[in-house]
Symmetry: C2
Subunit: 290 residues, 2 copies
């Protein structure tokens, strides 16, 4: 199998991308926290369709975990990840130690306001500051022409897009689809935490969202009723604890009272100590504006 | 005289720098708020010694002015500025309208903590967030190899350096010296606000700092005594109102009780409604550490 470099040091990464750039090769970046699954690999494939060289960063970013979250337990398997990236056709893994990214007296943050107060942002204060800061840093080091993010974390994608627009960063943000297990559960590195019962019931999340789509096809537009239905389906499992079910404007991420004509339905659910998220865009058949 | 482009649109700026970059020409950026004087032009000359192409940005950045500050009255003379940049050998002026830099719903900030609570930062809340945000944006658009900042605003220079380090930005920060009028007053676009009496007495700022340097040569190391002396000299003018005189660690910008062995002496003084700043590095003869 093709062997690809696993780069730890910033200087080495810059050296490699500099060499590619001088040859006129475009560069795609897929930022990840590792523990790669088919969802990540679909992002690598998407990057490969758009760029001549693809770097996958594997960095469990301490700045985006809150106190009591799963930083210490987050699954890590750099060797396995590297094999998967190589098999998918990626050209390098960038896996810096935390002190390379955050040197002593690190004191700069990139903060996106207005998109970060709802959905996950309401429950994970500081999380998106950590995400935008580390993405700025990764963009600074790798200098990619494009970066690919999955739309499973829809808020993250919106926040990153806003940051790139607002700071006039010279990078295109490309959106990858959600990849699902056979029973519909969105792929996530955190699925590995689920015990067999939780794993089985976690499929209810997607089932609830399909039911919402069906209801909308049937004419439903009311946010409150859609949210109640989705919550009820998920909470039909005694193992599920819904953190939020929200219907928001896909642009502003602010709650909407009804589809008009689209809305982002997003959910966060705990199964035991494992927090899972998922989302779908709902579009009512009628395109009329209120 | 050589005519140089005055670029208003981001896309046009990217086009120009992209052309230079493809030719292998290095790019220097001198960010300014216009109303250029010899201090700015010395930065252009410094940039020209280090880069093959030099862009001077002229942008009166609303985000770095507080309520009640002089945003509306800040001197503007784009035509005159362009002549000066061309004469100095610069290659382009970038002067975007505010809505090009801050599109509707702009909601991203770059924030440096820890260096912004003292000196000017203590009196101008949000000022440095505005500075770091606009510099990130200008770096994003121009993509310079190096950017030149004068050391008259020593805190700005320290904050920008910290931002570039912390976000791993691919730009070298180059420091330019303070350029002074014949009587020692540091050049500033705001000097134009001074009436003749204020202009005459404003020279006391530099005179006070020279006196501090002399005292240090004579063995003085105590911060309180140095600060008292500097304040007294400046306040010998009834037109002067000292905002602060501080002796801080040049790295952390935190106040120090004594030189050990160096300290940044920084002052902000109002003459009428005009706020002037200046600074100098004091180094005691003794190099011993406490």
């Amino acid at each position: 199998m093709k062997s690809i470099p696993v780069v730890r040091a910033e200087a080495e990464m810059r050296e490699l991308t500099g060499r590619w750039r001088r040859k006129g090769l475009t560069i795609g970046l897929v930022p990840t926290m590792g523990a790669l699954h088919r969802g990540h690999l679909s992002l690598v494939e998407l990057a490969l369709r758009r760029a001549r060289r693809v770097v996958v960063s594997v960095f469990v970013n301490p700045a985006q975990f809150g106190p009591g979250e799963d930083l210490d337990n987050y699954p890590r398997d750099l060797e396995g990840d590297t094999v998967l990236v190589a098999e998918a056709g990626g050209h390098a893994v960038f896996s810096p130690p935390p002190e390379e990214i955050y040197p002593p007296e690190h004191s700069t943050k990139v903060v996106v306001n207005n998109l970060t107060g709802t959905l996950c942002g309401a429950y994970r204060p500081g999380h998106f500051d950590g995400v935008t800061t580390v993405c700025s840093i990764l963009f600074g080091i790798v200098g990619p022409d494009l970066a690919v993010f999955g739309r499973k974390d829809a808020q993250q994608l919106a926040v990153i897009r806003r940051m790139v627009r607002d700071l006039h960063m010279n990078v295109e943000i490309v959106q990858g689809d959600i990849v699902r297990e056979n029973d519909g559960l969105a792929m996530s590195s955190r699925n590995a935490y689920l015990d067999p019962g939780e794993r089985r019931d976690a499929a209810l999340i997607h089932r609830a969202m399909l039911a919402a789509e069906e209801a909308v096809k049937g004419g439903e537009r009311n946010a409150e009723r859609i949210i109640s239905m989705v919550s009820a389906i998920i909470e039909s499992s005694p193992l599920a604890r819904v953190q939020y079910v929200s219907l928001v404007d896909p642009h502003s991420l602010q709650p909407v009272p009804a589809l008009n004509p689209t809305g982002l339905l997003a959910v966060a659910v705990y199964f035991g100590g494992t927090r899972l998220i998922d989302n779908t865009i709902l579009t009512s058949g009628s395109q009329e504006e209120d």
